[in-house]
Symmetry: C2
Subunit: 422 residues, 2 copies
Amino acid sequence: MQIYKGHILFTKTPDKFDIIERGYIVVENGKIREVCATLPEALRTAEVVDFGDKLIIPAMNDLHVHAPQYRNMGMAMDMELLPWLDNYTFPEEAKYADVDYADKMYRRFVKHLWKVGTMRTVAFGTVHKTSTIRLMELFEQAGMGAMVGKVNMNRNCPDALCETVPDAVAADEELINTWNDPEGLVHTILTPRFVPSCTPEMLTEIGRLAHKYNMPVQSHLSENKGEIAWVKELEPASTCYGDAYRRYGLFGQTPTLMAHCCYTAGEELELMKKNRVFVVHCPLSNCDLGSGMAPIRTFLQNDIPVALGSDISGGHHLSMFQVMVYAVEISKLHYAQSDKQMAFLTLPEVFYLATKSGGSFFGKVGSFEPGYDFDALVIDDAELNHDDYTLAQRLERFIYIGDDRQIAHRYVRGNEVLEPTW
Amino acid sequence: MQIYKGHILFTKTPDKFDIIERGYIVVENGKIREVCATLPEALRTAEVVDFGDKLIIPAMNDLHVHAPQYRNMGMAMDMELLPWLDNYTFPEEAKYADVDYADKMYRRFVKHLWKVGTMRTVAFGTVHKTSTIRLMELFEQAGMGAMVGKVNMNRNCPDALCETVPDAVAADEELINTWNDPEGLVHTILTPRFVPSCTPEMLTEIGRLAHKYNMPVQSHLSENKGEIAWVKELEPASTCYGDAYRRYGLFGQTPTLMAHCCYTAGEELELMKKNRVFVVHCPLSNCDLGSGMAPIRTFLQNDIPVALGSDISGGHHLSMFQVMVYAVEISKLHYAQSDKQMAFLTLPEVFYLATKSGGSFFGKVGSFEPGYDFDALVIDDAELNHDDYTLAQRLERFIYIGDDRQIAHRYVRGNEVLEPTW
């Protein structure tokens, strides 16, 4: 058992921060036993790790990120989605056929996630099985949680990234059968890149695997107007982009993440609601690639689950704190453009999306409630604190103007995660 | 004479970066004599400061920032303009009646500008003369360039921030007459807060001072729909918000900065064009306060001068590199919403706005051309450079994903500016 003391802030619900000044978190076997303002009698003599004036918050969960695009982060921001894929993304991903290159770059990627406090990640790898396994091994070595997908793609992509359907199925089944420890922190996730990259045969087979193994699925949806028009051409029998995934069993039949959803409305929205498909909102990417502004308030009003993603290198920052800020800001532009009809997202709301809502995809992750994994960050914001601020203001200031320099400790399932030594 | 060697990047024009790999900048009396790929024969034996593989770029110019809102930076981001002024901004500004408080906070503010590489600033102070002078003295001590305005306001504000017109005129004249060294780095600028804060009598008198002393002017324009409606009520004789300033001689009759201009169009736009009024684009603030998206491409197409501003604490970041990124991003949302009719801003364009365009308000500042002040930053981006990148890509990556940790040296008029020792 460990007991941690500090200023505790988390979001049990999206409407407000739960705040305990100088409170205690009691952790047993990696899980939270209780969170309290005063220790119960029986624990009064137990050893306490006292973080003093520091903040203790849930660790960050990034539900959409392209690990092999790490080299391109903060670059090529003068394009939009489809030419950006052809000119920057696909050539870089092709390099991951070389597992040594993958190893070198993935080490940097995982270390950078560590640095910014993201302790659970749902990542796209590349089409290459061996490199994708390398990424999973690195997450495991680092002690960080992840779901990693070997990307499936077999059309509209360079030869170097094209696979056959039988190869795809064999590779995915191998990953499913080897990364299946229910107690493990790292698992695989089925990852058809997006409809334009996968033939109907490919989508059919991936859907079959999802059903057979009850495997989660991630992909992209309605990011960009050009992409949507293209899907309409490619899948004329589908009533909307989301319906194309549904027809293949890839739209909520098993737990499903769909990144972006900038233009999701009408039938697609109803389908997401009915099937409990997660929207992964990636506001930096949506700005950086000129995709558009996703109607997150509408999704929340419809009780559609929403998480946040950095989506590098479509987005330019790995920090989920930056992603939260952009999520609020984009919602404020919606607010202005709707003549205040569409309420903007509040800070507790976006914090909830990056912690408890995103974390729910991993199990009981992202909150400080009994039974939850103790995934936490300890924030030393002393240098940002030159005056009297409330605890909520201190957290807001850290999110808006802080960076990795203020993250003092990181925990996953009760274990402190130190900087990877590679 | 000093000679600096390194990778030189700047924007003579907004359409592209001028790049000299391992080039030289020859500086004489604080001004650039020449920039060259090879030193001329006569200088071959001169001493050279060699920055090796580092980048040398023009220093940043922030054309709109509220110094006394420093405490609130990254806070209170759950409001829009008018309630935010009443609940957070005015109470904080009232504290600056106490010059000791002002001194304490302004030291932090100036040091933070130094940290993020902003070497020339146009700042709002408060209504208080003595505190405003303190800010000017601190800029001067730091060796950084600034135009600082004592704010004028006499209506629709708390009593503590309300002044009489004669007091305002006397204070402004004192500042004009004491901070008038043409060789100095710090000057004053007339600063009527905005139309709602100034009676017609106040605006008349400030306009008179502008004319009498040929003084520059800064204020706010068309930031928010509620504000615009309010100005219409307050100034029924004006044909638009900008016309209200024009009628009092405060709209380009002398050099004029107008922050925001989110909703400027039609007659107001024509007036800005005719009178060469600067738009100061503050994209972070426009997002953070839910104001809207300023049509910067339209201003540029109309040959209206544009600069960039951080506008803390409406905006949450002092770094002009962050402001550049947001300027590109907001323009990309415009691009998406206009169905690609409105071309987005490129990185060289926003770099030009933050350097040569904004710098032009101070004289020959913001470019590496002969006769320009040598205002520069030396960027050590080694830790961001884990692979082969071009110089343009290195600069883009520093702007997007770097921070103050990569700024190795700062220069103003040829002098290295060290961290303020306070």
